[in-house]
């Protein structure tokens, strides 16, 4: 057991009686409370997207209920997350703060939800992005997901790939669009089968697409 620190050694004689009594109570509380717990890296990293999507990790709701709830939350998020890059008429050069694009799963991944954050371009023209996604199913070995920028509804260029270990815990991955983006550009996520080198089937697209 850790020794109890010496109150008099810490506070000294400078404090008056009232202040000493006040500090003494705190001292006693610290001793009673004990050390705060060490957080796991998971907890230390901050709240998960799943928390705000009200998804439970290991028990409980049926898939249908989760899907309905998730759809409701996406609708709610739409009301608060303005600034989509798609269809808002903004010019490339006018994007000076992070934008958020909400994506949801197609029939291939009906429970999937994601937020794609697009940061302002760096001087070289890279557009750093971060995709946080839940609900994408784990793929077979050598399968992976790929994020593409789209223009006029057609796939234009890749922005990065990722895999998923668990649908409920999801992923958070940095991406990059090293392209000259234009107003109306958007993004999709595809499912890449093993050995497939062309864009696969779309599993996530913007909620307003």
């Amino acid at each position: 057991m850790t020794r109890i620190p010496d109150f008099d050694e810490m506070v000294g004689e400078e404090a008056g009686p009232a202040e000493r009594e006040r500090l003494r109570r705190v001292h006693d509380l610290l001793v009673t409370a004990g050390p705060p717990p060490e957080l796991s890296p998971e907890l230390e990293a901050g709240p998960t997207l799943a928390m705000s999507l009200e998804r439970r990790r290991s028990h409980g709701w049926g898939r249908r209920r989760v899907a309905l709830l998730a759809a409701a939350v996406v609708a709610l998020a739409l009301a608060f997350l303005a600034g989509f890059m798609t269809g808002n008429g903004s010019d490339e050069g006018s994007i000076t703060s992070a934008k958020v694009l909400e994506l949801r799963g197609t029939a291939l991944a009906p429970d999937a939800l994601a937020s794609l954050r697009i940061d302002p371009a760096d001087p070289a023209g890279n557009w750093p992005m971060n995709l946080s996604a839940v609900g994408l199913p784990k793929l077979p070995p050598h399968g992976y997901y790929e994020v593409f920028v789209t223009r006029h509804g057609k796939i234009l260029a890749p922005c990065g790939t990722f895999i998923v270990r668990d649908a409920d815990t999801g992923v958070s991955i940095p991406l990059n669009a090293p392209y000259e983006l234009q107003s109306g550009d958007s993004w999709v996520v595809t499912r890449q089968e093993p050995g497939q080198h062309t864009p696969g089937r779309i599993v996530m697209r913007p909620v307003n697409a």
């Binding site: 705060p36 705000s52 009200e54 946080s132």
Partner: protein
């Protein structure tokens, strides 16, 4: 290229362009009100302030790190879902958050499938439920208050109280004068007293 990430998708603090940034020094209650309006920045701040308190409470009750982490997940999911039910005029946010966490932990305890233990033949000398509840709330508030300390003050408190170092040893460990250690310690205790005053007697 970044591929396999095992960590859960993180909620990044992204208030919408129309949402005003959270003012520095916002109270827990003010953050909860913003969370009710789906302010993710406020939610992340609230998480940072309380995650240790929630996890500590869950660990004490559940005595299992994995289940305690699940309880943290449940707690903050419930906070996000139910923040609108918090009424600032009915009192501070800490007891409301404590109740949410306690409910999530109780749910976890009920979810246990282990058979009930045989009743003990002799009375236990361990604290009873009321004493445990009081001790839990004290820890809850103290751990929350620690989040208010500047890092340098928190450091000396942690070394003195939970690493077993004397003031001289703290000074030696941190390579700073003994007087600085004493000044930081007194300042930390005074700051904690301010935060805890009136809430924990």
């Amino acid at each position: 290229m970044e591929l396999a990430l095992e960590s859960p998708a993180r909620l990044h603090a992204l208030p919408g362009p129309d949402a005003a940034p959270v003012p520095p020094g916002s109270s827990d209650g003010e953050l909860l009100v913003r969370v009710a309006d789906r302010d993710r920045e406020a939610f992340e701040l609230l998480y940072q302030r309380y995650v240790r308190s929630v996890f500590g409470l869950a660990l004490r009750r559940l005595r299992d790190r994995q289940r305690a982490e699940d309880a943290v997940q449940e707690t903050f999911t419930a906070v996000w879902r139910s923040a609108a039910s918090y009424k600032p005029d009915r009192g501070p946010a800490a007891p409301w958050l404590y109740a949410v966490a306690r409910n999530a932990i109780v749910d976890r305890m009920r979810a246990r499938t282990e058979p009930a233990a045989d009743p003990p033949e002799v009375a236990s000398s361990e604290p009873g439920p009321p004493e445990r509840a009081e001790a839990s709330y004290v820890s809850w508030r103290v751990h929350r208050a620690l989040e208010e300390l500047p890092p340098k003050e928190r450091e000396v408190v942690e070394l003195a109280y939970w690493s077993g170092l004397s003031q001289s040893e703290v000074a030696e460990y941190l390579h700073i004068p003994l007087g600085t250690v004493k000044t930081r310690t007194r300042s930390a205790l005074a700051r904690l007293a301010d935060v805890l005053e009136g809430e924990v007697e």
